[in-house]
């Protein structure tokens, strides 16, 4: 019973935890594509900034994933 609850919690943790970063990464990439299309000569700088932002957004989902791993390993 308790193990089942832990698995359920792990699924919920990564499912809900990936929700926000998914939206965030989508917005980030969409906006930087827009910016790159408008100003192709600034593409390199925008790409660098995008990757840094991606790393921060992605890290949030990965924290959730670590929690999910801890829960499913219980």
């Amino acid at each position: 019973m308790e193990k089942g609850l832990a698995y359920l919690a792990a699924g919920l943790a990564i499912g809900l935890g990936a929700f926000g970063p998914g939206i965030g990464i989508g917005l980030l990439v969409a906006k930087s594509q827009e910016a790159m299309a408008r100003q192709p000569e600034a593409g390199g700088m925008i790409r660098t900034a995008m990757f840094i932002g991606l790393a921060f957004a992605e890290a949030v989902a990965l924290y959730a994933l670590v929690i999910a791993f801890i829960l499913s390993g219980k």
């Binding site: 660098t48 990757f51 840094i52 992605e58 990965l62 994933l65 670590v66």
Partner: protein, 257 residues
């Protein structure tokens, strides 16, 4: 799931303990040392054969170093960041090689009881490695900042100038917390990315191995696609780690940014 996660448990090869300090050599340590040796050999050979018009393999190394210099030094720190090129370049190459080594799918080989060849592992999929690097980056950028500005001025510059005096203690505390969490977030990002990627690979491989013949193709295609993606992730994570290091050092040296 349990047996997949068990794959990531380190195997002790040489038992070594100093009191309560565990210094045992595990398979993760072995691959860390191998990556260290590979980076050293690669960069040493490339530097020794430096030519005006580089060719082939040396050209490739030079292109990567040029990329690091352009993207992480010039774009972020400006020309005065040049002394940090060796540090940031070493971090980049080291993390990239450690990440790549774990992608080579060779399991451990046992002869009788003895493990003659430890299975290829990604040392960055273990918190110990990444936290050590995070703490190293934390120490480096703080010491560089203190050396450049002096301790009192460095602490003073943590708070942006021009804020009302009653906000200063609060902001100082906030900045202190954010600085302490920098190495933690660096370490957890790298660790979780590598662990997650390898777990997905392991799950697909497990599915391909256990499913019936006609269904095998689907998870196998997943393994191939994820493998390509993981090579990309190995590069991106090395890039992110080193570019964030550059940003932190730049922030410590130029307080106004």
């Amino acid at each position: 799931m349990e047996e997949i996660l068990n794959e990531f448990k380190p195997h002790e090869l040489v038992h070594l303990k100093l009191g309560s300090l565990d210094l045992s050599i595990t398979d993760y340590v072995v691959w860390l040392l191998v990556a260290c040796a590979l980076v050293f050999i690669l960069l040493y050979l490339a530097a020794r054969r430096a030519q005006l018009v580089p060719r082939g393999f040396y050209n490739a190394v030079e292109a990567v170093v040029e990329f690091i210099y352009q993207e992480m030094i010039l774009n972020i720190m400006g020309p005065e960041g040049k002394p940090f090129l060796p540090f940031i370049g070493t971090i980049f190459f080291f993390i990239f090689f450690v990440n790549l080594l774990g992608l080579i799918p060779i399991p451990g080989i046992k002869v009788g009881e003895h493990l003659v060849f430890p299975g290829m592992k990604t040392s960055t999929a273990l918190t110990g490695t990444t936290f050590a690097w995070g703490v190293l980056v934390f120490l480096v950028y703080n010491l560089v900042g203190i050396k450049k500005q002096g301790l009192i001025k460095y602490l003073k510059n943590l708070v942006p100038s021009g804020v009302p005096f009653y906000l200063i203690p609060f902001l100082f505390l906030l900045e202190l917390i954010s600085h302490v969490f920098r190495p933690v977030s660096l370490a957890v990002r790298l660790f979780a990315n590598m662990l997650a990627g390898h777990t997905v690979l392991a799950v697909f491989t497990f599915m391909a191995a256990t499913s019936i013949f006609w269904v095998k193709l689907l998870p196998f295609a997943g393994v191939v696609i994820m493998m390509a993606f993981e090579i990309f992730v190995a590069f991106i994570q090395a890039y992110i780690f080193s570019i964030l290091t550059a940003i932190y050092i730049s922030g410590a040296v130029h307080p106004e940014h």
